[in-house]
């Protein structure tokens, strides 16, 4: 008994991060579920989907220090690919008239469709990513931006599988609050675990000093590539969840507006830590929804002779610029939440 206690108490005192991130998130979801408000539940479901996206981006961007604009493209691939595999043949016959016969009859269970969709996103990331991982700085930004535009162009024009620029409809709404919470929490754990794996450590070493990392035998291209694929998979899952929550969408959903939102969340929270990704997502979602409701109140009450739109984005971009100027490492400064604090080590 005493022995057990002697082992248990130091274990309790060890500074931990994950419970402090996961427990509040689950409690938040529980509170929202019990409150029963439909609007609030929708907001929190989207919050957890966005959290998955932000975590996906954090795993690559935060650990490697390389900016990627391509991830919302992978989200789009995950969304469309999973929808193709989850839709019933009848729904496909209506929504996608020119679909290839081989795909028209396929229907997978939701969870498999999500995994297949994310797998395809990861595959695309693996194919286009490998050569890009040599680049860094401005070149990598422009190259990943180019990837986003290429994916967008293909989504808009490949009418056979995406219904072109028009809305794709007829997807079943499988994603519930708890489905998105489960994935979101799983990705928090994944992202936290990933940081500490040998791969994550190598990646962070290459972020701090590429030359020094290379000189001790780290193959930067391969390390970045694996992280890129993994993070694209996470983004693909998020896209699949989003598709099965929104149930009808067009390629425009996976372009610059969403990119801006996700990058804002990550930067405001702080790219360097999982805590930053979580904090940024929570904070920006709260800001976003708060400002939107201000906008809607003004518009509904008709206080102004015109409809107000864009106000939310104006405020968010100002917040982002201020953070970049005064606290470029984000509100968490790249630190993980730890409690109890580490004692004088």
């Amino acid at each position: 008994m005493q022995v057990a206690a002697r082992q248990f108490i130091p274990w309790l005192r060890r500074p931990t991060t994950l419970p402090w991130l996961v427990v509040p998130l689950v409690l938040l979801a529980l509170a929202v579920d019990l409150s029963g408000g439909v609007v609030l539940q929708r907001i929190v479901t989207i919050l957890f989907i966005n959290l998955s996206l932000v975590l996906g981006l954090q795993m690559f961007m935060g650990n490697s220090g390389v900016v990627s604009f391509a991830h919302i493209g992978f989200m789009g691939i995950g969304a469309y690919a999973s929808a193709l595999f989850s839709m019933s043949p009848q729904a496909k016959a209506i929504a996608l008239r020119d679909l290839y016969p081989a795909l028209a009859q396929v229907q997978l269970p939701f969870i498999l469709a999500v995994l297949v969709g994310a797998g395809i996103a990861a595959l695309v990331a693996a194919l286009v990513g490998f050569p890009l991982m040599r680049l860094s700085g401005a070149a990598s930004v422009i190259a990943t931006f180019a990837v986003l535009i290429i994916i967008h162009t293909v989504l808009v024009n490949w009418s056979q599988v995406t219904n072109g620029p028009r809305t794709l409809f007829g997807i079943e709404g499988y994603t519930t609050l708890w489905v998105s919470v489960a994935w979101g929490v799983a990705f928090v754990m994944l992202a936290y675990w990933f940081k500490g794996t040998p791969l994550g450590l190598k990646l962070r070493a290459s972020r701090e000093n590429a030359q020094a990392a290379a000189s001790i035998g780290i193959n930067i291209v391969v390390v970045r590539w694996v992280a890129f694929i993994l993070s694209a998979f996470v983004a693909g899952v998020a896209g699949a969840l989003w598709a099965h929550f929104i149930t009808s969408f067009s390629p425009l959903a996976f372009y610059l507006t969403q990119t801006f939102l996700i990058i804002t969340m990550l930067i405001i929270g702080g790219t360097g830590s999982v805590t930053g990704a979580v904090a940024g997502t929570l904070l920006v979602t709260a800001l976003f929804e708060g400002l939107r409701s201000v906008e809607n109140t003004i518009n509904l009450a008709g206080w102004l002779p015109f409809t107000v739109s864009g106000f939310t984005e104006v405020c968010l971009s100002i917040a982002l610029i201020l953070i970049l100027i005064f606290r470029p490492a984000g509100i968490t400064g790249g630190q993980e939440l730890r409690w109890p604090a580490r004692e004088g080590r």
Partner: protein, 296 residues
Amino acid sequence: MNQILQFLINALSLGGLYALMALGLALIYGILRLVNFAYGELVMVGGYSLLLLGAGAWPWIIVAALSVLMVIATSLLLERVAFRPVRHASPTTMLITSFAVSTLLQNAAILFISPRHKAVATPAFFTENMQIGELLISKSNLVSLVVSLALLGLLTLFLRRTILGNALRAAADDFVMTRLLGVRANQVIATAFAISGGLAGVVSLFWIGRLGSVVPFVGLTPVLIAFVAAVIGGLESLTGAVVGGYLLGFLTVGLQLLLPQVLLDYRQAFVFAIVILVLLFRPQGLIGGNYSAERV
């Protein structure tokens, strides 16, 4: 023969505009290592200036001149308010700042003006054609061809013959060394932003004139074109940006003639695939310049 002439004029006129756009981007990149996403929004500001100032009874040429001045003022303001505070931060921070500025300006236009297309009055020469022998040439193409060549000429003179111009080229080459030699950073950077704004302003006259309307997202295409042209020519070289611009102009007009419609839809994808290839295999661009990977 006529067809070739026609092709040349169209390609040179489009290429001239593209060259101006690319140059505005490369000038800032060369000095600050800032990839300015907000560059397209300068074109948007030009468009809205044309819209708002054009409501009065002033002749177009005055409205156009005032619009260009507005764009220059906006560019200088952005430098002072948003870019100067992050000047010493990492390139990533600067880049995301410019992305935020771009979103800010777009949504400010949505908020304060309108999310919808607004028709902009354009002078008659934008719609008229001119008959030279057997050639039918649109006057606006001819004007933009001449204006872009004249501007490029003037800019070359400025960059090569004046002290400030030389300081600017030196700064684009090696900013730290230039500062060590006593050139004032603020002055050089402000000049670069002013020139970049002026180029965007002139581009907006023709770009908005061709479209005949302005919308908050109008800057996206110009900034993408500027990216592509600057990368192809070489982001770090001013000559490269101009060459890249003309090359892209020829490529665009050429593909329009040669590619079947099915592939034409994917043109943007092809163009950006070329960008990726250039970045991978010739990161210094086709023209070059003194590109070098960071050394220890």
